[in-house]
Symmetry: C2
């Protein structure tokens, strides 16, 4: 079976986020005043060929922690859906 996995990688709380801070500074010029706490991160979407959703989640989590995220400064969340 084929699954689609989405891995969201975000900076851990307390780690400086210059990209998010830059976005936040641009908001007044766009007339947006109701947005705060902007945090920037990465997302990765890929297909996984696996026998079950558990197996696909295990592969995606392995990939997330070994390659996609830096666990020292980043958290990752994994979502898997059947295609």
């Amino acid at each position: 079976m084929r699954f689609t996995a989405t891995v969201d990688v975000s900076l851990r709380p307390g780690i400086a986020d210059p990209e998010g801070a830059t976005i936040e500074r641009a908001l007044p010029a766009l007339g947006i005043s109701s947005v705060t706490n902007v945090r920037a991160g990465s997302s990765f979407v890929f297909d996984v060929e696996a026998g079950s959703v558990e197996e696909a989640t295990a592969v995606a989590t392995d990939l997330a922690t070994r390659l996609l995220a830096n666990p020292v400064i980043e958290d990752s969340t994994v979502r898997v859906e059947a295609r």
Copy 2:
């Protein structure tokens, strides 16, 4: 009310994705053979102060299309949850 909005920005289908291709080339060295079609993107999480979930979604969508995504080459999806 305060809402948390998540904007996922991904390259449109057909747009070259060198970051995703580089990740895919690294997979055999990690012993992962069941993953294909890796696409890299960005994600942004922020708080929105709004009267309703519809209003918060409108603000987040406005921000996504005007600042966070380049609509020529990128698609964006917006999710809003009450905190």
